[in-house]
Structure formats: structure tokens, C-alpha cells
Amino acid sequence: MLSGIDYFIVIAYIIGMLLLGLYFKKFVNSSEDYFLGGKSLPFWAIGMSIVVSDIGALDFVGVSGQAYRYGVSVGNFDWVGSVPAMLLAAFIFIPYFWRGGMYTIPEYLGRRYNKSVRTIASVTWILFFALDLGVLFWASAVLLNVLMGWPIWISILSTAGVVGLYTYFGGITAVIMTDVVQMIIMFIGGFALVFLGLHAVGGWENMVEKISTMGPEYQSHFDIIQPSDTKSPFPWTGILFGLTFVMANAYMIGNQSIVQRCLTAKNEWHAKASMIFGSALKMFIPILVLFPGLMAVVVHPDLADGDQALPMMIKSILPPGLVGLMFAAFFAGLMSSVDSLLNSTATLFTKDIYQPFIKKDADDKHYLKVGQITTLVLLIFGVATSPISSDFPGIYVAIQTFMSYFQGPLFAILLLGIFWKRTTQWGGLSALVIGIAFAVFLNVFKEHFFHIEDPFLYISWWSFLVGFVINVVVSLMTKKHSEDDLKGLVFSSKILTKNKSL
């Protein structure tokens, strides 16, 4: 448990976040303000928010734990697994979404393919986000329970109260701006941890020497590229095909909670710049999350669970004040994941389900109210389902695995949708359905196809490939779209210039 000044800092941080979030209520007057921040936010805030929502507190702990177990190869997720995809998103995809005045990725899919593709994509995201909420509430509650000694239900309700209030009132502006504070604090705390950690292990070279001589399982701890027959989940083949080609792009281009942030930018330049700035910040993330994991191998060599590496390093290395600040940033990371899910799900439901299927021509205030009520319903759903996480400890992994089924086929239809005029609505629909089914099949029979324990990178690659081929074959057999249908939806070299007409 925390004590003294650190306890005070965590409490002050939680109250401060609530007040800061509520302050943004005054900027919400329409549904565009609520879902897209009135399209007025600057690139630096969006870029920071993208990085924070990508590397939430659970990932922060998880990546450090993997660095503890497998070494530096996990850093690939933030370098080749993010930066090229973010640049591709910035220069090719974001301009189309931004110029099209879109609110959601499924909205693009609906315009490019058909309503069914839009609905399937939207419902899948809503399901995934809603299920994830309960897990995140539980994780926040456990953190508060351990650090502050609060009972679990008090912890869940206080998290839901704080996040719910500022997301309900402040919309995406509150979500993004609270992320900015979190990122600044996480970076300062993280660099302090690395600095003091290096001091504790006697410098980088000393640490490398110590870890390399700890036994055969540590021999490849500093190899960023792992052989294809490695026992770790990160063989170079999986990293290149599954991560760099598919999952990274699907995440940065097809993930509603990431792309929605770019759509809040004040103009197209800021929308693109937010991704580029985010990619620059992403390059520092491995330093902040990998290094503490590696240092923990020397400082705490006998940890039963690698995921304890980062919390243990914070507790044993950081001085009073920064301990509280880092744990507050962790908690804020969880809150940031929750608020992103709440706002993105409310956007998906309002724009892709409610508006087209339930009430088409209502006034804007009505959709703003629907978005807020959806946020509230999701909050209650998340709180009610949170104890399931304790009964099924593998549920977070299961949800992430479920998401990896979806990423490959989704990216296949997004890629062909932008770059190939000939792709048709039936090509897109069949690629999405068959691609997801194929990913499920591969996962069920994974022992027969793959020799590594967790082949999610390979599954996403093969399901992408199947989705891609199905899309091409079915599109060639079905009626193509007219030029008018495709206006502003497919690639044109003009997108790379200042010319705004596509």
C-alpha cells in the first residue's frame, strides 16, 4: 500500500482529473462537439492522446513484463509495429476520412461498400469495446484496492463515477485533454525511472553483461530480431507479416478509438500532423516500458510473474512523490482506456446504428442526448459485468484474441477499398465474413498449423491474406461501382498535394 505523500498525490490526481474533465463541459453544445471535439483540437494534443490510448496502463505493465521474460524483441510493437503504420495512416487514409467529414471507420466502409459491411464492422467494434469495459473497470479496482486499500466495489464505483462524469459531460475533448496530462506525467515519471534504474544496475553495459551471463534463457534477451523457430511469441516472420503488414495497420487505420481522435483536428494539416507527432512520441515508448523490464531482471531476478516487474521497479527505485505520481499515471491510463471506449462506443452506436436504423432525421440535440445516454448505459453495463473478470482471469486475453480475428479481414477491405477501384460491395462483405470465419478456424485448430504457443500474429496475417484474395475474386465476379459512387473514397495522387478536390 502507498503511504503519506504518495497516497495524497493519487487522491489529488483523481479529484483533479474529475474537475479538469468537468471543465470541458462548457465546450459541448452539439453532437459534433461531443464526438469530434467541434473539429477544433490541435495536433499535439491529439498525437499525445493517440499514444496514451495505444499504450494504456495494462499494456505498460504487460510490455515491461514481456521485456522481463523475452527481452528487447517486444520493442518491435512500438517501432516497426507502429511508426510505418502511423505514417501510412497520416498521408493516405486520414485525409480521406477527414475530408469526408466522417465520424466512424464503419461509416467509410458503408460509403465504399454497403450498409451491411458498415453494420457488421460497427457491431463488432461495439461488442469488443463493451466487453472490454468490464475488464478495465476490474483492473482499475484491483489497482486502487492494492494501492489505497479501498474495498473492490468502492473502487469500481469511484472509478466509474469519475470517468463517467467527465466523459458524459465533456465528450471527446475531455477524453483527449486528460490524456495529455497523463502522457506528460507518464513520460516524466518514466524517464526518472529509467535514469534511477540505470544508476541502480550500474549502467547499460553492466546490465547487458549481467543479464547475458544469467543463463541460456537470457542469451537472446538483447536480440531485437528473433529466429522463426523461437519459443517466444515474437518470431521475425510473425513480426514482419502479422504485425508490421497487418495488425499495426489495422490498429492505426481501422481502430475507431484511434482514428476518431484524428477526426477531431481543427484542419487536415493538424489531422495528419497528429499522427506524425504521435509516431515520433511512440519511438520513446520502448525506452520507457522496455528498460524497466530489463532492469528488473537484474534488480528483482526471481519474480514469479513478469507483470510485477514495473510495479516492483517503481516501488523500489523511485523516490517519494514520483511513486505516487507514476501510480496515479497508471490509474489515469486505465481511466483513459475506459473513457476512450465509452466515447468511441457511444459514437459508433449513435452514428452507425441509431441514426441509420432507429431515428433518421432527428435534430442534432437529439443525437447529442443519445450519445450521452449511450455513455451512461455503457457505464452501467461495464460496472455490472466487471466481476466476470475475476471469475474468468483469461477474459482480457480472450477479448484481445477475438479482436485479432477481426483485424486482418478489416484491414484487407480497408486497403482494397482505398487502393482498388474495382473492389465491390459483395467483395467487401464476403471478405469480412469469410476472413473472420477463417481466423476463428485457425485459432480453434492452431496446434495443427503453428508450433508457437500464441500464434496471434500468424493468424492475423493469414486471415488478412484470405480476406484480400476473397475480396479480389468476388469483386471480379460482381458488378463494379460507378465513378460517381467512388468520388472521394478511393486513392488519388491529389491526396498527397494541397489540392482539396478529389
Binding site: L20, I184, H199, G321, L325
Partner: protein, 77 residues
Amino acid sequence: MDKIDIINKRKTAKINNALGVFIALFGLIVLAAMAYTETSVQLLTDMVAGLVLVSIGGGMIWVSRRSIKKMESENEQ
């Protein structure tokens, strides 16, 4: 600059001001935490971290207030 640009600029300035206050306050708390450190390295780390937070927060407040003042003087003209 059209009306929407002015409204957006004012909004950004107000947001920056709020963020700046929040971050600077946390910087002050970290500086106060120097009193609880045990070694000189810890003290130095808290001091640097606190000063960086105060500088970022103070910088944001300064930039946002300057921007608001500039807009007000342009409006008066």
C-alpha cells in the same frame, strides 16, 4: 481570421490554461515531496521532475494568457 477560427483559438487557449494549472500544481506537489526523500539522487530526481512539470505547466499558462490577450487587443482595434 474568420469567426470560427477565433472561437477555436479562444477554446484552445482556455484548454491550455486549464491543463497548465493542473500540471504546474502537480509539479509543486512533486517539489514538496523532496522533503520526504532519503538520498541525494532521490532529491535531485524529485527536483528535476517537479521543475520540469512546473515549467511545462507555467509555459502553457503563459502561452494561453498571451494568446487570449492578443485576441482581445485585436478585437478592440
